[in-house]
Symmetry: C2
Subunit: 190 residues, 2 copies
DNA sequence: GAGTGCATGTAAAGTGTTACATGATTAC
DNA sequence: GTAATCATGTAACACTTTACATGCACTC
């Protein structure tokens, strides 16, 4: 179900084609969610059949593409989903399992695993922090689209709420970095 | 693949039956990993066929059960997996998406979602902290099994490494709680 | 004898990933 | 003309969850 709600959330900003959505959700974008295009096109079909979105054939230059817009029922479904607490899925972190058994490998090997993890999380933290700052400055295309159909009085609050999400991602990444550094120390102890 | 490595890690402590493993991995245990029994039994069959574990029929009282032990190739595979850095799966957190669109619902509704999340994470943090303390005190059945076939000189280090994993889970939960509390504040702002 | 716990499976469905496949348009 | 980008799909597989199913042993 989730992918559908995430798509609804994006389409609330403005109508988009499947291709635009695949760009936004591609792993390289590292947005809050990622999904391969093989998942997005079928989901759009399903959602259109369910009446949550409507597709319209548009001609841009010589190109034809199907642009999907969120419908009233789609918006209602989105609001309903946002307002419902969904229990967190059971934690399933491979690194936690690896770390649990670090005593089975050479300390140097374990340290390399943690070092690579730290580098990865640092990149994630920086990315999230930068995106948070951009949102706070209302400096992303999607946010500007959203603000354009909302009263100016709400703009600051909206930007702060959205920036906060990415600030939270950065905070989690930093907590995990601190944890990994402590792990490096522990591996050196006798 | 992961479930197989997690199972190998557990079986490194001592041989176990499928039933024991399902107990350990049941959602209620809230260990580092969870898996339903429908996943565990087929995985054990696959692993036995691959030579990573061997099953032995044992009679306990009037009961027959198949007890699986890790083999040399299984231990080698486990060590290999532990020593390899696996890139983190793309983040896919429903609450992050919900929070991104909190401006679409009443503040009171959004606050209820965050409040429930905080309660959930607090429970998780307490559970992880308690388990970390138990490991540090070498006060879990599984850890004692592991220590029993390892030199005493390594015991403290092993306990510290394992306790550290759950301390990390608690730290992440606490970071998310702090984030959610800040979210509650932001929702009240104009 | 009835209920709980031990013990082991299969089936169906949902979700997600990787790979394969195609064709048109625009920019160089 | 050729490469990159736009644009849209299908197929096969892996992983996970929920539900269905069975039967024996032990306790009350």
């Amino acid at each position: 179900m989730s992918i559908q709600h995430v798509l609804l959330g994006v389409l609330e900003a403005r109508p988009m084609s499947g291709y635009e959505l695949t760009q936004l959700f591609s792993a390289s974008t590292r947005w809050v969610w990622s999904a391969p295009q093989s998942q997005i096109y079928p989901a759009l079909k399903t959602m259109e059949a369910a009446g949550l979105i409507t597709g319209e054939q548009l001609q841009t230059g010589g190109r034809v593409r199907t642009v999907y817009s969120i419908t009233e029922p789609g918006l209602a479904e989105l609001r309903q989903w946002i307002g419902t607490a969904h229990p967190s899925p059971p934690s399933r972190d491979a690194l936690d399992v690896q770390a649990l058994y670090f005593d089975l490998v050479e300390p140097a090997v374990a340290k390399r695993v943690l070092t690579e993890f730290i580098a990865e999380q640092q990149a994630a933290a920086e990315h999230a922090t930068a995106h948070s700052a951009r949102l706070l400055a209302k400096d992303t295309e999607l946010l500007r689209e959203r603000l354009s159909h909302r009263p100016a009085a709400e703009h600051d609050r909206m930007a702060r709420l959205k920036a906060h999400v990415f600030a939270g991602q950065a905070a989690v990444a930093e907590a995990r970095i601190a944890w990994a550094r402590e792990g490096l120390r522990l591996l050196d102890e006798a």
